[in-house]
């Protein structure tokens, strides 16, 4: 779709809100929402005289994220002030990390179109979020400081991605990891995961990177992908027409489907970073790192391999279940309790994913317990109900949350396998359809399927198809 002579180079900066109970430098709640300016105190609103005190959980969560992405953990790290004026930033500086981030030199492995690739991480640092400005018609601009001081980590990748598909795979993988190590909810609709895209293009074979543009504050993966597609095309067009790319910051206009220039390099802020004198350095011992490492759960990469080996899943299916820990746990519990995990996987991939949108998939909003899916699969596996009855039972489970065994019991869905009972019905069916019996006897194979159909009809679909087949063969050959 792009000019065949060009290659795209993408690096990402991902901002992720940590799910600590309290804010990074004060005791206020981090809970999303709430009436404007109710989750605030003198500290997070930057009142004169207040001082920050680091929330130890933030450091721990950042290290968890770092260990889960193969980062080095800094023994000595510090916090710096990033100075700029904006009404959503009450102190007029953001406490962030400049030259000594808490984690550095990590990596994330991705798979795109069956090919594996490693994306290197430059660093992960901790910082505080800013507030939100609401532009109300007639009321001017209103400031809500509830989000001020909510802890963030910023994860910076190397410019290792070569397509928007790789970028998307990276983002999805990163989100999965952050959710599995339980440091963030990664709710994009609540802004707890956002990214800035650095993108440049260059002629294939060219060694140096092209001049890059930064697209700020994308809060949806699909918008980010669209923005990357647009921006790459734009840059290629500029170059093909003999123009030059200027280093600048752009934003994505979703309504118009274009990126728009915000400010050039010359207009860029001088943030005047310097070590925050109100905070002590963050010193992390090897023992502490080991302790946190030992507390990490099984990570998505390892789970994927296990799902493929243990349950015979395809790479694609395994990745789908790793969309979130809730979904993975649903699958694992359902699989553990069933005779055929592969069938469990098929039910989730087929029926459940059909009924859930993207967001619900992530949150695994399934109206029944995973054990119920195991029971359903087990009922089918042991022949108690047929596959087609299974679908009816599933529908009922989805709508009412009722236990499948109870549904089968109450609705009388139980599959009939009793030969004596079925022989009686078979004799009746054969007697009622002499023409078909004759066709079969004269060698028309199709006629046999028709007889099986009549049997199923006569038993309201509850006859065990295998028993019926065997029985009909037996009777007709007599």
């Amino acid at each position: 779709m792009f000019h065949p002579d060009y290659e795209i180079v993408i690096g990402l900066e991902v901002h992720c809100e940590l799910k600590t109970k309290s804010k990074i430098y004060c005791g206020c709640t981090t809970e999303f929402g709430g009436e404007p300016n109710t989750h605030c105190c003198p500290i997070c609103t930057g009142m004169p005289g207040t001082l920050p005190v680091i929330n130890e959980k933030v450091v721990e969560y950042a290290i968890r994220a770092g260990l889960a992405t193969d980062c080095q953990i800094a023994a000595f790290s510090k916090q710096d002030r990033k100075n700029y004026f904006y009404p959503d930033l009450p102190k007029a500086y953001q406490i962030s990390q400049y030259d000594l981030p808490i984690c550095y030199e990590g990596k994330v492995d991705i798979e795109v179109n069956g090919e594996n690739k490693t994306i290197r991480l430059t660093r992960i640092h901790i910082e505080e979020d800013a507030g939100k400005l609401l532009h109300e018609a007639g009321e001017g601009t209103l400031a809500d400081y509830n989000r001020c001081g909510v802890p963030l980590i910023e994860i910076v990748s190397e410019p290792d991605m070569r397509s928007q598909e790789e970028a998307r795979a990276f983002l999805e993988k990163l989100r999965s990891i952050l959710m599995f190590v339980d440091v963030s909810d990664c709710k994009m609709n609540e802004g707890s995961l956002r990214c800035d895209v650095n993108l440049s293009v260059r002629k294939k074979g060219q060694k140096e990177y092209g001049v890059r543009a930064e697209i700020k504050n994308m809060n949806s993966f699909s918008f980010a992908v669209k923005a990357m597609e647009y921006e790459a095309k734009r840059q290629i067009k500029v170059l093909e027409e003999g123009g030059k790319i200027i280093q600048e910051t752009r934003r994505w206009d979703q309504d118009k489907g274009v990126t728009v220039s915000m400010r050039s390099k010359e207009e860029a802020h001088d943030y005047r970073y310097f070590p925050d004198p109100d905070l002590m350095p963050i010193v992390t011992s090897k023992e502490r790192v080991d302790q946190i490492k030992a507390s990490l759960p099984e990570l998505p990469d390892s789970r994927k391999v296990r799902y493929m080996e243990q349950y015979g899943l395809s790479s694609y299916d395994a990745t789908m279940f790793l969309i979130s820990p809730r979904m993975a746990n649903f699958f694992e519990v359902a699989a553990e309790n069933s005779a055929n995990p592969k069938t469990v996987a098929n039910w989730i991939m087929g029926e459940i994913f059909r009924l859930l949108n993207e967001e619900e998939k992530e949150a695994a909003v399934i109206p029944f317990e995973p054990e119920m899916l195991s029971k359903l699969v087990n009922l089918i596996e042991k022949g108690a109900i047929s596959n087609s009855v299974g679908k009816k039972v599933f529908e009922e489970m989805w709508n009412t949350g009722t236990d499948p065994e109870k549904i089968v019991e109450e609705k009388g869905y139980k599959q009939v396998s009793d030969e004596g009972q079925l022989t009686q019905i078979a004799e009746q069916v054969l007697a009622n359809n002499p023409k078909i019996v004759e066709d079969y006897r004269s060698g028309k194979e199709k006629a046999f399927q028709s007889l099986v159909g009549q049997m199923m009809k006569a038993t309201k679909g509850q006859a065990n198809p295998k028993v019926v087949t065997d029985l009909l063969v037996k009777i007709l050959s007599e």
Binding site: G46, P48, G49, V53, P87
Partner: protein, 486 residues
């Protein structure tokens, strides 16, 4: 002797023996303030009603036999950059002329717990930037010893109030000498504790890595008493030292016998007024006669202290004062075109000349391309100065120096020459750079009758030694009964 002339320890004893009530004392002070503050102009806010109410409460508790804090019923006042819930805290700036904090500083809470009574808030140089209190947006405080002279600064109101008997004691803040230099100018005792010994939570920041709150008192024993109440680790201040602190009154009488006191040659001679030098040397002789061992040492890095101080303190100030942008509290310009203009107009109207000068200097020092040459270099100098002091304290218990090169200068004398004003902090600034404790106490008077301070410096957390030496010297000098005539 009037009630308002008594020290905290004297008043405490009178209160304990129920010879006076706290209300008597507070009334005496309020009367005194009404009589003399028109001349001195130390107070920017007076809490008359609140003070009387608090005094009645303490008295009622005492009658009821309830347990009371060590300074129960003693009236005091705070520099106007220490946040007091419900009481205006202006930093003597137009920018915060209407700012009423929704919370109290840790020191204010501690003093309240100790039972002290807040008389009001005291004048200062705007945002604690200055050495004469002339940079106040509110008023010019006068030196009680000579009303044509400055009280020093930036805690000029805090020093003048104690000297003029308008408070039993006060708190100030000291970033480069702002407690000790006015204590010297006004003839009172002033102490800058070790950086991290007193919580900065609720102190409106000027330069975070240098600021430290400390008391100004009528004598050294009061200093020990007040230090006992305000010192200690505060979980709300990350730079507060999580260590145990001694009871400073316990070994106050130990004396100086065998103490090794260093006289750094860089603090004597060129630029130091001969009267000042003579008084400090006389104090040294006294100490020697009392059994201390005095020796000259050299601190060659001292010459770099002032430039390093102005780079570091201004850099931090440029960031600390950025929050005064007209958006959330304090002044907002009435006329502005857009957001940028709101910032510009508000900051132009709200800040005085000296504050603007420091913000510009600090912004420049932190700017891309200049950081290494200025801010980083200054931090390296800071390390060298610290090391130099540490070396001396490997051998010596204390350092003795003048507090300032001259006595209090005339109002308006240095306002047109910022550099000359900065030079008045030459003896105090290095101590802040190194984060060490230091105290200025009256050592005598110059020929015109203006007080002269002597400065004791100790290693980090060495306040106890300073207080012991200062107490011994005070006993020997017998000048603390001298009071300005107002």
């Amino acid at each position: 002797m009037q009630l308002y002339q008594k020290s905290a320890h004297e008043l405490r004893d009178l209160l304990l023996h129920k010879e006076v009530s706290s209300k008597d004392i507070v009334k005496a002070y309020l009367d005194r303030i009404k009589t003399v503050d028109e001349k001195v102009q130390a107070y920017v806010t007076l809490c008359e009603e609140g003070a009387l109410k608090q005094a009645e409460e303490v008295d009622a508790k005492r009658v009821a036999g309830e347990e009371l804090g060590a300074l129960a019923g003693i009236p005091m006042a705070l520099k106007d950059n220490i946040c007091t819930e419900g009481v205006k805290t202006t930093c003597a700036s137009k920018m915060l002329h209407n700012f009423v904090p929704p919370y109290s500083a840790t020191v204010a809470k501690k003093l309240s717990k100790a039972g002290t009574i807040l008389l009001g808030k005291l004048n200062m140089d705007e945002f604690a930037m200055g050495s004469s209190t002339e940079n106040s947006y509110v008023q010019k405080t006068k030196n009680p010893w000579n009303l044509e002279r400055v009280p020093g600064g930036s805690s000029g109101g805090s020093a003048a109030a104690v000297a003029a008997d308008e408070a039993v004691f006060t708190l100030g803040s000291d970033t480069g000498g702002s407690i000790r230099q006015p204590a010297h100018c006004c003839g009172v005792v002033g102490m800058k504790p070790t950086y991290g010994a007193v919580s900065r939570f609720g102190l409106v920041a000027f330069a975070s890595s240098l600021d430290q709150i400390g008391p100004l008192t009528k004598d050294v024993e009061d200093m020990a008493l007040v230090m006992n109440e305000i010192i200690g680790h505060d979980p709300y201040d990350s730079t507060s030292a999580p260590v145990g602190y001694p009871d400073y009154t316990k070994d106050l009488y130990r004396g100086v016998k065998g103490m090794k006191v260093a006289l750094p040659q860089e603090y004597f001679g060129k630029g130091i007024n001969p009267d000042v030098q003579a008084i400090v040397m006389a104090a040294a002789k006294k100490l020697e006669s009392m059994g201390a061992i005095l020796e000259e040492v050299s601190l060659p890095m001292t010459q770099y202290a002032l430039p390093a101080y102005y780079l570091i303190s201004s850099a931090e100030a440029s960031s600390n004062l950025a929050r005064y942008d007209g958006v959330k509290y304090g002044l907002r310009a009435e006329q502005y075109r857009d957001l940028l203009d709101l910032y510009k107009q508000t900051r132009d109207e709200g800040f005085g000349t000296e504050v603007k000068r420091r913000i510009m200097l600090g912004t420049y020092a932190l700017s891309s391309g200049y950081y290494d040459a200025y801010y980083k270099k200054a931090q390296q100098v800071r390390t060298l100065i610290k090391n130099e002091f540490e070396n001396v304290f490997g051998t010596y218990d204390l350092i003795l120096t003048p507090t300032a090169p001259t006595t209090a200068f005339k109002i308006g004398e240095k306002t047109d020459n910022p550099l000359e004003m900065y030079m008045h902090d030459i003896c105090t600034v290095p101590i802040n750079i190194a984060g060490l404790p230091a105290l200025s106490m009256p050592g005598g008077f110059d020929q015109t009758g203006l007080p002269v301070g002597v400065q004791f410096v100790a290693k980090a957390l060495g306040e106890e030694k300073i207080l012991q030496a200062a107490f011994a010297l005070e006993q020997e000098l017998q000048i603390k009964s001298q009071r300005p005539l107002l």
